[in-house]
């Protein structure tokens, strides 16, 4: 196959290159990878939410057959506590020390206190039960609002549960509210959820001959190598971090985990490879959670529906410690707090609060689902208050298509957008009114909309870096493209895909530019030992930033290829262009060379231009100038059984715009997964701790992920508004569905319940909560 002008590779719904090995069980995940002489590890975890460690007796565990060593927190002589990457200029962020193994005090159930290492996987789990830990219980802080008020403390030496305050605003808020005829205030809860990747975390640490190879189910192998170096005092050149096949992450593997550091430390100590794979219960207890905000929102508008001001105060439940990005998450939402609306005054005030729970951090959308949920609920609430049609109110306040690039009140510049077009396309896609009207007897149907944008393509380093937002890193991405002597291509990307189909997407980008078949473009990722320095996969960055760096490295290949062709065919370089599968001279399409012929010439350098280096291999680093802002319009119909409170999603339609589609099939798949993820939060999923800080939802029976049987088929469409930020015009899509969908579901439930007098409700919309809301409205 080859691309023609009529049939470019970009835009084709190719099946994913990576799927045959994934579907046929040929892929190698961490659980499939073992080293000769490998030992196994198990962690002893705190059953207490908050306690002083009075004593730890490891003697019985050490004597257990097959056990090689048992380590506790004070055995681990690490250079530093676990990392947290945010130092916002001018803001104090209290960061209590967080060690791989707790030293004197445990702060949440699941906090690791000892590491047992032995010869087999079963023995270490048995021996871990023999480690005897005496705990002196301390007061447990669970409720976010109470923790914020004060009282019992998670970290007594901090003197407060408040970690930090951070604000972002623009425009005259007081004048905005003064100009409002109507002001609506709500308390919006966005409850705690888990990433719940199908593949649990796992680590294989192998230190030998002075070098460490650490294989981990991670989204960020390059960060991992850096922090292993800093924590263990090993020179970075002697560390190789590998993310093998990774079975989902959703942000939960965008982390530097204590288990990774502890295993590396122990492997160096014992000079043996050591492996650990978490159980699902451990995963629920000790893999970071997401969301968990309470927002107090206030929106003002004139009687005719022009929004004049929007203020949100957010309490973020941080959990017990700050992990890599824990306190930054609500701030990511603050950048798009006003959504797709042109609001002259916007202010977000965030307070991070410690509780005795597992830390929260980035989970798919990271702050932006919360921000979108808030503004989209408030728009509907405002429409109710004004007696105005919900879509009319939206249209009245949309940023106008001709206003892009659009600088918002807080100074963020949205790259491109056409919000009315997305909404019009949605209304053409599905006749939601007709579906609502067809409610069966005894059931209530409601329609919910969400018109959203998000900020992704992380990130322009000058905005997010140390002197800007305060992340202690750049957020560029790299790519290396190697055309082999036969014309086959290997691409090394610094991103670290784990299920998003990027091997196919990136191959299509390269194939389009080189006139070759994407099947002959291999994409290598997730290994610090093979490719250039990179930064990983998160924040819907892998195509907009990683893909653009692939495009830029490929452009350098194309430049050199054109020079070779011009030299060999005795033409001017400017006259050489790709036509079909050949680089040919303008006007004489028969005269040309394929990329294979060009690479042959490059590697057998008998006839290259004077002074040209042999070879056909290029590297590019790309730091974006701005974020990208995908957007769209989602609409759904839900059916509520007023007798039981049960909610069914009857129809879900979505129009998303992530710029020109590279692979529409992959985009649809990402949107499907994203919507299910948000339906999960809206209706089913909930991480719940009881009053003693015990995790009630520690497995998939209690933590209810929806299955295919619980969600409808989706009607999807796209609009394509190119971004001016990168040469591909692309934006992100991995998080979009999750960012858009929870308010659409919630608004639909409220629309269905309106005849019964229910005016507001918070997720998760399980049947008992919906039924109780109906009872309260009746009372």
């Amino acid at each position: 196959m080859s691309a023609t002008a009529a049939e470019p590779w970009i835009g084709r719904p190719l099946k994913r290159k990576e799927d045959p090995r994934l579907i046929m069980g040929r892929a190698r995940y961490i659980d499939d990878i073992n080293a000769v002489g490998q030992l196994w590890a198990a962690f002893v975890r705190s059953p207490e939410a908050h306690a002083r460690i009075a004593s730890i007796d490891t003697s019985e565990a050490k004597a257990f057959p097959g056990v090689h060593a048992v380590f506790t927190g004070n055995d681990l002589d690490l250079e530093a506590p676990l990392p947290m990457a945010w130092v916002p200029p001018g803001v104090e962020v209290k960061n209590p020390p967080h060690w791989s193994l707790a030293k004197d005090e445990v702060h949440h159930v699941g906090d690791p206190v000892a590491l047992v290492i032995g010869s087999d996987r079963y023995a270490v789990v048995d021996a871990a039960q023999l480690v005897s830990v005496e705990y002196d219980p301390l007061p447990v802080v669970v409720d976010l609002e109470k923790a914020y008020e004060g009282g019992d403390l998670v970290h007594a030496d901090l003197g407060t549960n408040q970690c930090h305050e951070w604000s972002l605003g623009g425009g005259d808020l007081d004048a905005g509210f003064a100009a409002a005829d109507v002001v609506v205030e709500r308390r919006i809860v966005n409850h705690r959820t888990a990433g719940a990747a199908i593949e649990p975390r796992g680590v294989l640490a192998d230190y030998r001959a002075g070098s460490l190879t650490l294989t981990s189910s991670t989204q960020v192998p390059h960060f991992l190598r850096l922090f292993l170096a800093l924590q263990l005092g090993i020179s970075e050149d002697r560390i190789r971090a590998i993310a093998p096949e990774v079975g989902g992450g959703f942000g939960s593997k965008l982390q530097i985990y204590g288990e990774e550091i502890a295993l590396a430390w122990a492997s160096r100590k014992l000079e043996r490879p050591i492996k650990w794979v978490e159980s699902r219960t451990e995963g629920m207890l000790a893999t970071h959670h997401g969301r968990d905000q309470i927002a107090y929102t206030k929106i003002g508008a004139t009687r005719d529906g022009k929004i004049t001001a929007y203020h949100t105060k957010i309490l973020q439940d941080l959990g017990a410690y700050l992990m890599l990005l824990t306190p930054t998450i609500p701030s990511l939402g603050a950048f798009v707090m006003s959504g797709v609306y042109d609001i002259p005054a916007v202010q977000t005030d965030i307070v991070g609060v410690f509780t005795n729970k597992m830390p929260t951090d980035a989970i798919r959308g990271a702050g932006r689902p919360e921000a979108t949920h808030q503004i989209e609920l408030m728009i509907d609430q405002l429409a109710d208050e004004l007696g105005m049609d919900r879509l009319e109110l939206r249209r009245k306040n949309f940023m106008r298509p001709e206003s892009f690039p659009h600088e918002t009140a807080i100074g963020v510049v949205y790259d491109s957008g056409d919000y009315p077009k997305a909404l019009d396309t949605l209304l053409e896609l599905a006749d939601l009114d007709a579906i609502k009207a067809a409610a069966p007897a005894g059931k209530l149907r409601g329609i919910g909309y969400s018109t959203y944008t998000e900020i992704c393509g992380l990130a322009p380093s000058r905005v997010t870096g140390p002197s800007g937002f305060g992340l202690q890193t750049g957020l560029w991405e790299s790519a290396m493209v190697r055309v082999h002597i036969t014309g086959a291509v290997t691409v090394y990307t610094g991103t670290s895909p784990h299920g998003q189909g990027l091997e196919t997407t990136m191959a299509q980008i390269v194939a389009q530019r080189l006139g070759c078949d994407p099947q002959n473009v291999e994409v290598i990722h997730g290994d610090t030992g093979t490719g250039p320095q990179g930064l990983g996969t998160y924040g819907s960055r892998s195509t907009a930033v990683g893909g653009e760096s692939v495009a830029r490295a490929t452009a350098k290949i194309v430049d050199k290829a054109r020079q070779i062709v011009a030299h060999q065919l005795e033409a001017a370089v400017d006259d050489v262009e790709l036509s079909g599968d050949k680089f040919s001279v303008k006007g004489s399409p028969d005269k040309g060379m394929t990329i294979g012929e060009i690479s042959m010439a490059a590697y057998i350098p008998e006839n290259l231009p004077e002074g040209m280096e042999p070879g056909l291999e290029e590297l590019a680093f790309y730091d974006p100038e701005n974020f990208v802002f995908p957007f769209g319009a989602h609409g759904c119909v839900v059916e509520v059984d007023p007798d039981t409170g049960n909610v069914d999603v009857v129809k879900y339609a979505a129009v998303d715009d992530c710029g020109p589609a590279i692979n529409p099939k992959i985009i649809d798949g990402q949107v499907h997964g994203g919507i299910v993820h948000a339906i999960g939060q809206a209706l089913f999923e909930r991480i719940h701790y009881d009053d003693e800080g015990q995790l009630v939802t520690s497995n998939f029976a209690d933590y209810a992920l929806p299955s295919a049987a619980d969600v409808p088929s989706f009607d999807l469409d796209r609009t394509e508004t190119p971004s001016p930020v990168n040469s591909l015009g692309v934006k992100g899509i991995g998080e979009a569905g999750t960012i858009a969908a929870s308010p659409a579901i919630t608004n639909a439930v409220l629309d269905a319940l309106r005849p019964l007098g229910v005016t507001f409700i918070n997720m998760p919309l399980g049947p008992q909560r919906v039924w109780e809301a109906i009872q309260e409205a009746k009372a």
């Binding site: 048995d126 159980s279 219960t281 049987a709 399980g766």
Partner: protein, 279 residues
Amino acid sequence: MIPAEFDYVAPASLDDALKALADGGEDAKVLAGGHSLIPLMKLRMAAPSLIVDLRQLGELKAVSEDNGTIRLGALVTHHTVATGGFGLVSAAAATIADQQVRNMGTIGGTLAHGDPASDMPAVLLAYEGSVLIRGSGGEREVAAADLFEDFLTTAVGEGEILTEVRFPKLDGYGYGYEKFNRRQEDWAMVAVSALVKKGADGTAEDVRIGLTHMGSVPLRATAAEDALRGKPLNAESIAAAAELAAEGTEPPADLNASQDYKRHLARVLTRRALTTAAS
């Protein structure tokens, strides 16, 4: 998710299985599918020293009909029950978890386990069926009403194996099964089994109502049954009877369902199940 150490045998005959159980003592446990036992072992909430796997016992996989009684070997899978055309029994079995569980899980296993959130116990109770239990001392038949003693505790004693499940066919009864759960694959938050025999005059000659997950054992909604028995079957009489469905129950509450909510669900589901059964 690693269970504690245990021994495993898969005997070739029922006698060998009974002997293995007797030799294993109180920490020996029967495996008949394993979809309840193995998760408990992986969570280390159960730690049997010996597993006696019944998988090789072909004699416990038989399905037969005898004099108006359906006889199901203990190892008959939920899938076989679901597709067997056994009225309410099949309708309820078809809702158990997902297809993979239905392919492995067995009717004997679920009844011997006695989880009040599982589907089959209340169905057996409503049918007034029975089970056969074999031990070293011989075989006994135990009525459904005597089988379920407490949460996860049944009349199947140490060293005994539940071998057969018996349902009367109940020709002439209509049935309805209403199961309420959050997700398709979940255990019932509450489920209601209803069996109604309509007399020639349109009155309810007999009414049986089984309640799932409304107590530590499956229950009969006797007040509702009594209220409807002998009455004309119509929307009003059914609604009035269903109002009594939760009478006297102390359902176990959890994160997703309070006692009050479960009692309410029992009333709603009873009305629906009776309506279907009477139609």
